[in-house]
């Protein structure tokens, strides 16, 4: 009788890459739904477009690379990239924005570098940055929350606006962005930036209806929903605390410092926490394991660097939000961070870890 030969260990935990990606996507859902509630159904349409594009692009390139298609599609990593791009683009951006961004993310950023595990940059963020640089008008055309816009849009309008540029009632996206008062609205971050350039103080700027009664109308709830999803991921040990905590901590600290030094031209730490892509970025984007640092200490540095860069770009940069840029900059530093943050191996004296 002969027996099957295998190498130890023979016991494995039953959580695969597929399971991890699936959990991350599930954890995104509350944030996506809150976003849809406040800003219209457009993001759901974009997510659908992104998923189709991502799967097709991945299948195509795997075919070209003569790699097995099904197991790779089933690892859900392309799906997650698609979801992240779909949630990141402005609600009523034209459809081709998402197609270009997702296609670039999957084909170039991920697969041309060797596929999952080999990409240097976060594919979703690299795709997003490509779009932001190439199509700045479309990519900054965020809508204000539905509660303060003139035209309410339903899901049919969302489809029509994304694919044709006009709602079913014939309004253009630019018209959709107009509030009841007839003012064109942007995101709170955008508004703040514009306000500062006009010489207004933060107190004056925040009287704008996009800030709502709290910090950023709609956005604060979106961020809280993503925070809930992120805490779920932490609880499930899908992500580890180092990157999100370091990112948020560093951003909070920088916001606090800025507010203490220049209260009139800064927006306070909690504003930074609850606007823009902060929670999505800290829990879902910066934690992409492939492109992040892989040592515990390295992850703290990596996260802190992202938080710092977000604050710097939000405050002084040309773009209202900065997570995509900050993440890509941090991705570049990863090999260096990893090299210098190797832990001390058992039995080695302190300081001679290598």
């Amino acid at each position: 009788m002969t027996f099957k030969i295998a190498s130890s260990p023979h016991l494995h935990i039953r959580r695969s890459t597929h399971d991890i990606m699936q959990l991350v996507i599930l954890a995104c859902i509350p944030g996506i739904l809150v976003q849809a509630f406040f800003f219209g159904w457009g993001n759901l349409v974009h997510i659908a477009i992104a998923i189709v594009t991502a799967l097709m692009a991945e299948a195509l390139i795997l075919h070209l690379r003569s790699r097995p298609i099904k197991p790779v599609l089933m690892d859900f990593s392309a799906l997650l990239t698609a979801v992240l791009i779909g949630t990141s683009v402005p609600t009523f951006a034209p459809w081709w924005i998402t197609v270009i961004g997702t296609g670039f993310a999957i084909l170039v950023v991920k697969q041309l570098y060797g596929g999952l595990g080999f990409n240097l940059f976060n594919p979703a963020m690299a795709g997003y940055v490509l779009l932001l640089i190439s199509f700045p008008v479309e990519m900054t055309a965020w809508l204000p929350p539905q509660s303060i816009v003139h035209h309410q849009v339903n899901i049919g309008d969302a489809f029509a606006a994304i694919f044709t540029g006009y709602t079913l009632d014939g309004y253009s996206v630019a018209q959709l962005r107009t509030t009841i008062d007839g003012m064109t609205m942007a995101t709170p971050l955008d508004t703040l930036k514009t306000g500062f350039t006009l010489g207004l103080t933060s107190d004056e700027i925040t009287t704008n209806p996009v800030f709502g009664s709290w910090y950023a109308l709609g956005w604060e709830w979106v961020n809280l929903a993503y925070l809930a999803g992120g805490l779920f991921l932490l609880k499930m040990n899908v992500i580890r605390w180092q990157i999100p905590i370091a990112t948020l901590g560093s951003l909070f600290l920088m916001g606090l410092l800025g507010y203490m030094i220049l209260p009139d031209s800064s927006a306070g730490p909690l504003f930074h926490m609850l606007t823009g892509a902060t929670m999505l970025g800290a829990f879902f984007i910066a934690t992409d394991p492939v492109s992040a640092s892989t040592t515990n200490l390295g992850r703290l540095i990596y996260g802190a660097f992202i938080g710092l860069m977000v604050f710097v770009i939000r405050t002084w940069g040309g773009y209202p939000d900065a997570f995509a840029f900050a993440v890509l900059l941090a991705n570049m530093c990863v090999p260096l961070i990893d090299y210098y943050t190797r832990p001390r191996t058992y039995g080695y004296s302190q300081g001679s870890s290598s």
Binding site: M1, L11, H12, S16, T17, P343, G347, Y348
Partner: protein, 712 residues
């Protein structure tokens, strides 16, 4: 130090980084008592079941052995004996599949049990603490005790440590899932284990004894605590269940908060660790004089329908044990020796149980699903989080795949204990440990090759240096020799003068002898022999000697000189002529010349004169004989053959005498040079002289032969 002990007493232990909590599945076997298994038809006892060297085989094919009889001896320090597990007949000594991941065949002694189970004579040491450390260590070695925890390190070597030992740690953690062999042993034999621990403490001189047991073995903890009692002061440490807390380094860290330094052993930090099964074996070996011939093996897994622990004789094929636990193999059945984390699969059930086999695991594919295809690493870092050695497995696998051995070494691959925690958590099902094993083996091979190449280089350079040194020495010697020659040229003049004096005196004596002989031969004056020929021969020999001396001084071999040859030829011719002239010779003369030839070399000048005289006498006698010849011709004929031989001998003797003289001259020469030259040159000269003598003897013989031929 007090605080450390206090912590231990209060059960506040340290933690090690990482670690995992796999399902332990120990309940499958932990509730059943250890069962006995009938004798197998054949036992395959591997002669090496430990780390170290193999003793000599003491038995031969067909020999009857008793239970516990040594099959190999333990003469070398690293030897550990193996013993007959039961009485029976040595059927064969042959290669058999081994209990090793490679399954490569190794030498086994095959014993067919006779069913009597008859013990050899034993000498129990009940008062074991009265024996010296050395006696106890020797008995452990001879009774084949090696670590039962997994590595099989010889217990007598580990216990022989001269380091100051603070803690003797008994590893009863048994953190591998499924395995309950130590658990059951502690439940059933706590007293013997405590006895073994006492012996180990006695040998190592450890101040404190810590017994580490995971808290998932409450029965074992109770049993051990009861057996320890109060007065012994052993600390029974209940540890939280976590894999791999039973790793030697990890257990040291948990219990004492210390780390074994890289490349070191626990004794470096005052710790000796022994497995609890080893403690039991020690007590059996010392107290009962019962060698290590059996051990507890956990038979478990869902393909085994009566999972339990069994007492297995070492050498029992796994198949025999499987026969007694209702083993029902499934599709693609795996048979694992050891636990699910670090055990290895067996290709065949014929593999024998050895000292380090603690478990046979036959899982179903549901409980331990077969490995799934490897996916790319997503650098999630879970492996680094669980690594007890704080390595970065995700980086290591990257470099292992790239075969970047330098990077692997800089990321401390060698410190990987292969516990498998990284592979356990890997979401991409990467067989990380397998990559590390392969890389480690390749690094080892590479290092060996490098070492070999370095050795070869060293050898080559040493040879080059030696050749160069020899050359320099030769040149130096030549230089000194030429210097010496210049300084002794004045001395040589004196020597020449001495030689000429000797020659003169010799010639005088010869002339006198000849004159005497002539006087005697007065009546046959007209028939006088042709003396001029003898003189010519003598001159030729002198010439030869001089030539030899010269040739010696210039450093060339005497026979290579053509003048030498010529002289030799001349001498031979002269001898032949002389012989022809002398038809007969009396034995008296021969005897005398023989005696002379054996005289001391210092008398040789006199001797030469005497020889000359003897020759002269012989010639005179010959003349007389020739007179007598006229009386009877027939008497002469038979005699002449005999005398030819004698003549040849005489000639040879003369030659020898001459060469000795030459040798003496050479010695004189050497003495002259001794001031400037190394003292070992004089035997060298002597040797040359001897060669010259031998050459001369050979020439004499040849001449004789020629002579004989000429006669015939």
């Amino acid at each position: 130090m007090e605080t450390l002990l206090e912590r231990i007493q209060q059960g506040h232990f340290w933690d090690f980084p990482g670690g995992i909590h796999p399902p332990t599945r120990k309940e499958l076997t932990s509730q059943h008592p250890i069962a006995e298994v009938p004798l197998p038809p054949v036992l395959y006892v591997p002669i090496k079941q430990h780390i170290g060297t193999i003793g000599q085989i003491l038995v031969s094919k067909g020999e009857h052995v008793k239970k516990g009889q040594a099959l190999t001896n333990g003469l070398n320090h690293l030897d550990v004996a193996v013993h007959a597990p039961t009485s029976g007949v040595v059927q064969e000594i042959k290669e058999h599949i081994s209990a090793h991941p490679s399954a490569l065949p190794e030498l086994c002694i095959c014993i067919q049990p006779d069913g009597l189970d008859e013990w050899r004579e034993r000498e129990p040491w009940a008062d074991y603490l009265n024996y010296s450390k050395e006696q106890l260590l020797r008995r452990l070695q001879l009774n084949g005790v090696a670590g039962l925890g997994g590595a099989g390190f010889p217990t007598h070597i580990k216990s022989a440590t001269n380091a100051e030992i603070e803690f003797l740690i008994i590893n009863a953690v048994e953190c591998e899932p499924y395995i309950t062999a130590d658990d059951l042993l502690m439940q059933e034999y706590p007293e013997a284990i405590i006895q073994g621990i006492e012996i180990l403490q006695h040998m190592t001189g450890a101040k404190h004894v810590l017994i580490g047991i995971e808290d998932d073995k409450p029965l074992a903890v109770t049993a051990i605590k009861a057996a320890v009692g109060v007065e012994r002061g052993f600390h029974v440490c209940e540890l939280p269940t976590q894999y791999p807390s039973g790793g030697e380094k990890q257990l040291v860290q948990i219990l004492t908060g210390r780390e074994v330094p890289k490349g070191g052993i626990p004794a470096d930090i005052g710790i000796v660790m022994q497995n609890v099964g080893t403690a039991y074996a020690v007590s059996r070996a010392i107290v009962a004089d019962q060698p290590l011939i059996h051990r507890v093996v956990t038979m478990t897994g869902e393909s085994i329908h009566q999972p339990k622990n069994v007492w297995a004789l070492l050498g029992t094929p796994v198949s025999h044990l499987l026969d007694h636990v209702d083993f029902r193999p499934g599709l693609n059945q795996r048979l694992i020796m050891g636990g699910p984390m670090m055990g290895f699969t067996l290709p065949s059930p014929d593999v024998p149980i050895t000292k380090i086999s603690n478990c046979i695991l036959a899982p179903s594919n549901q409980e331990l699903p077969p490995e799934s295809p490897e996916m790319p690493c997503i650098r999630c870092g879970e492996c680094a989080i669980v690594c007890p050695a704080t390595l970065l497995p995700q980086q290591l696998q990257w470099y292992a795949k790239a075969k970047d051995y330098e990077k692997l070494e800089s990321y401390n691959l060698a410190d990987c204990i292969e516990c498998g925690a990284c592979s356990y958590v890997c979401p991409s099902d990467i067989p990380l440990v397998q990559y590390y094993r392969v890389a480690k083996a390749e690094i080892k091979t590479q290092q060996q090759e490098k070492q070999k190449a370095e050795q070869a280089k060293l050898r080559f350079e040493a040879r080059k240096a030696r050749l160069e040194r020899d050359k320099q020495e030769r040149l130096e010697k030549q230089r000194k020799a030429s210097e010496a020659r210049q300084s002794t040229s004045e001395d040589s003049n004196k020597i020449e003068a001495a030689i000429s004096r000797v020659k003169e005196s010799a010639t005088d004596k010869v002339a006198a002898a000849i004159a005497r002989a002539k006087a005697k031969r007065q009546p046959t004056e007209d028939e006088s022999p042709d003396n001029s020929e003898v003189i010519a021969a003598r001159e030729a020999r002198k010439q030869q000697a001089r030539d030899y001396k010269e040739s010696k001084q210039t450093g060339t071999e005497p026979e290579s000189s053509p003048t030498d040859k010529k002289a030799a030829v001349a001498a031979a011719i002269a001898r032949a002529k002389a012989k022809k002239a002398k038809l007969a010779e009396q034995s008296e003369a021969t005897e005398q010349s023989k005696d002379n030839s054996s005289e001391n070399a210092s008398e040789q000048d006199d001797r030469k004169a005497k020889i000359a005289a003897a020759i002269a006498r012989a010639k005179a006698k010959k003349a007389q004989q020739e007179d007598a010849e006229s009386l009877g011709e027939e008497n002469v004929e038979p005699k002449s053959n005999a005398t030819d031989d004698k003549k040849a001998k005489v000639a040879a003797a003369i030659e020898r005498a001459k060469t000795k003289k030459a040798a003496k001259e050479a010695e004189a020469n050497a003495q002259g040079e001794a001031e400037t030259q190394a003292s070992d040159l004089s035997p060298e000269e002597e040797r040359k002289a001897k060669i010259a003598a031998a050459v001369a003897r050979a020439k004499a013989k040849k001449a004789q032969k020629d002579n004989d031929q000429g006669k015939n």
